[in-house]
Amino acid sequence: MNRYVSIESVGKTFETKKGDFVALAGIDLQIAKGEFVSLIGHSGCGKSTLLNLVAGLIKPTGGTILLAGKHIGGPGTDRGVVFQNHSLLPWLTCFENVHLAVERVFESDRKQRTHAALELVGLSHAEHKYPHEISGGMKQRVGIARALAIEPKVLLLDEPFGALDALTRATLQDELMRIVATTGATVLLVTHDVDEAVLLSDRVVMMTNGPAATIGQVLAVDLPRPRARLALAHDPRFMELRASVLEFLYEKQAQKKLKVA
């Protein structure tokens, strides 16, 4: 298997006031180049933690993470991150927000690249607006444009559509599928949404509940691309896949929770 991103027996223990808290333990995951992988699991299981480890924002307390064969020691522009709450800088316009990322990576054609990234997410008309002047969905798109503009090796998305209404979410999911298809990006997506995970991914990685969360099950989504949302709604294979994720989340992982409680 092509190990483009390689997470090798990674663990993360947080030091807290009440002693050590083992958030993640024994995580092994390989992601191939151009693959789309989703992380799904109950709230608080450690999805963001794992994504932040790959982003280099935090360091693992055990194991290593490799990107294209190289050890990840910290954040870098080879990875584009889309944060859960857009995290645009409110004093910069959409254009300036994206340009800030571009000028760090590219020497030439910075303006063109910025325009192109915003065009890719369909926001050319809002380039000179400030974040507070645009809708939540548009902000999230600018966040995606900012991450894409640096042409990262890997795109890391932490519940990028979590705060949006269902209609906007669907539109942006379709858009993300289109963008990933045209750029061939390698993607790691954190999500709560079972439909989103199955619709977008090549593989769905299901995490057990914390503490000491780990990978419970990995589901390969063998649906052909391009995928059409409406057609899939009645596709028996889609339903099957969806059912097995739901089963994992609400039977295997929910039971544990009940026993604890």
């Binding site: 280099g56 954040p75 522009t77 990875r79 944060f83 800088l89 004093w91 800030l100 507070h132 640096i150």
Partner: protein, 301 residues
């Protein structure tokens, strides 16, 4: 009007009680309204907006002038009445920038030299206080170091520093500037530090994933995020500085609005003192308003 009508319509339909406090407030307002309507016998109509914004302040000022005139009359001429002061003011402001030697200058010069002291003292405080605020806000150790010093010195009246200023500089003017510097320093440090501490982790994470240079982090993230807090610090400082300069100048002498007040007291020109009070108030108001405008310009939401 709209809100009241709406609430009236809602009350009978209220099946599940809303938040108890909201309910209480609503009921109290309704009760007051009923009482009002009963006593006057007609439905209340809200006064037009312009009446409130223009007329109310005018009425307030008129009441103030009336009380003043009353007190002046009772005082038997010791306190000048509004008309006398008005005429004196007209004379003074007819030529605010005359200069007959160092101790006899127009009110304009006095105000300007006070403003100049505030400006210099305050500018120096900003130069020192803002960088210190960044350091105190960014590093836990520095914040621990600064906390007891600031806690101890902040409540001290800035005027208590005046003798030390006189001792250090051996002249009145730098001593007054020094007092302004000291009193402006604390708000600048504290507000800048608070601003630095509240910068959302998200913005700093953006800086990290984009690998921004230290310079970019400062100019594109730290500085703009802290700016509104710094402006609040500036506002507080200038307000205090303007209060303090008058007192400091009374003690040090020279040219300045505070000294002018003292001089007019020695000349027993009470109407001039009252004019000075209004002038100080208006200049303070203008400073405050200018900074509010500045703050609006740099707020992002």
């Amino acid at each position: 009007m709209g809100a009241v009508a709406l609430r009236k319509g809602v009350i009978p339909l209220r099946t599940s009680p809303p938040h108890p406090a909201a309910k209480m407030l609503g009921e109290r307002a309704d009760a007051a309204k009923v009482r009002f309507e009963a006593s006057t016998g007609y439905r209340r109509t809200r006064a037009p907006e312009w009446l409130l914004t223009v007329l109310a302040p005018l009425v307030g000022l008129a009441v103030f002038a009336g009380l003043w005139a009353l007190i002046a009359k009772q005082g038997g001429g010791r306190i000048p009445d509004p008309i006398t002061v008005w005429h004196a003011a007209a004379k003074i402001f007819a030529d605010p920038f005359y200069s007959k030697g160092p101790n006899d200058q127009g009110i304009g010069w006095n105000v300007l030299s006070s403003l100049k002291r505030v400006g210099i003292g305050f500018g120096l405080a900003a130069l020192v206080g803002i960088p210190l605020g960044f350091i105190v806000g960014r590093f836990r150790f520095a914040s621990g170091m600064a906390a007891p010093i600031i806690a101890l010195l902040k409540p001290v009246s800035p005027l208590a520093w005046l003798p030390i200023g006189l001792l250090l500089f051996k002249a009145a003017n730098p001593a007054a500037i020094y007092v302004i510097f000291v009193c402006s320093l604390w708000p600048m440090i504290v507000n800048t530090a608070v601003g630095v501490r509240q910068i959302p982790q998200d913005y700093l994470n953006v800086a990290r994933v984009l690998n921004l240079s230290e310079w970019k982090v400062f100019t594109k993230i730290l500085f703009p995020a802290v700016l509104p807090y710094m402006i609040t610090g500036v506002r507080l400082s200038i307000g205090v500085a303007w209060l303090v300069i008058v007192a400091a100048e009374m003690l040090t002498g020279g040219v300045g609005i505070g000294f002018w007040v003292w001089d007019e007291w020695n000349n027993l020109k009470v109407e001039h003192i009252i004019i000075a009070i209004f002038t100080i108030g208006i200049v303070g108001l203008l400073l405050e308003q200018a900074l509010v405008l500045l703050a609006k310009r740099f707020s992002y939401e």
